[in-house]
Assembly symmetry: C2
Homo-oligomer: 182 residues x 2
């Protein structure tokens, strides 16, 4: 098997690749945005996302299948539903906010962002938490080392080889079980 | 103009929609992943992403055009290049990590994640910062209120109510921005 093919197979295991399969199209992330804004009803998603009903329907179905949203019957309207976030969908909120922060910092027009998320009780914008090193300093890319995780497939074990800490290439397998115990 | 159309136009201003135009396809995010892993050369991207060279070439061009990566000539190989992250690309790292965290928490196989990011100096996994309220408690979706930002287009201003700061409670969608009045 060529290494390109091995790389492609290893991608199937990558949790970011898996995440992008769920949220990595523009419509899906905009539907999630609306859910975070409090929208629940089909016609409101349609209006605020500006999406054709057949596409919306397909995307909602995909999000429901992925367990990110669920469909709740509206008792007062037989045959109608609301779409609400599951725990899995609510748990994506920090990732949504991180995307928004990057977008606001690098892609927004000079006048500023479209919307601001306020900490309701404090009445001021929520703070985006910063990545920090163990010593409290800001974490830079240079401070990061990649090691195989507990579930790493052979391709990734060989690639990132070694114990947590990355010093001992020969002990890749040991590294995995040690990682798991943590 | 229909409100669906207005919604679609307002999306053009949404920084998350803009972010997804750059990173919101599977290949682009995997190329960024490899850049965070330290990959710089075309053939290494090709192998590790498991991507056809023509698609890789197009995606790298897109990332360079978006200012997320830049192409640096390799002096020792005339006509060959490395692809390195710009500040804009490096600044996406927290968003990448947030996506990875969600993926690891909800989508990884039960054995665990493929890779772990270590804090190199401390020799232990980096800590994913938690969203917190001003009073230090974990921030839940319920704690958040959406108000128009400084650059809000009219559609969003009308939707999220009045002046930046949200003192003028939204009339369009009651669900969204009630509660804050300080």
């Amino acid at each position: 098997m060529s290494s390109t093919k091995q790389g492609r197979l290893a991608n199937k295991e990558c949790s970011v690749a898996r995440a992008m399969e769920i949220v990595g199209d523009r419509w899906s992330i905009l539907i999630l945005r609306e859910a975070y804004y409090g929208v629940k009803r089909f016609d409101e998603f349609e209006m605020y996302v500006g999406i054709a009903p057949n596409i919306l329907s397909a995307r909602l179905k995909k999000l429901v299948t992925a367990g990110v949203m669920r469909r709740v019957p509206l008792p007062e309207h037989s045959g109608r539903y609301e779409y609400v976030l599951t725990d899995k969908g609510r748990d994506f909120f920090p990732a949504y906010l991180a995307l928004k922060k990057w977008g606001d910092d690098w892609l927004a027009d000079s006048e500023g962002p479209q919307v601001v998320f306020l900490d309701r009780a404090a009445g001021r914008p929520i703070e985006y938490p910063e990545l920090k090193r163990a010593d409290g300093k800001p974490l830079r890319l240079e401070d990061v080392e990649i090691v195989p995780g507990a579930g790493a497939v052979r391709f990734n074990r060989a690639r990132f080889g070694g114990a947590p800490g990355g010093r001992n290439v020969a002990k890749a397998v040991g590294a995995v079980s040690r990682g798991k115990r943590k």
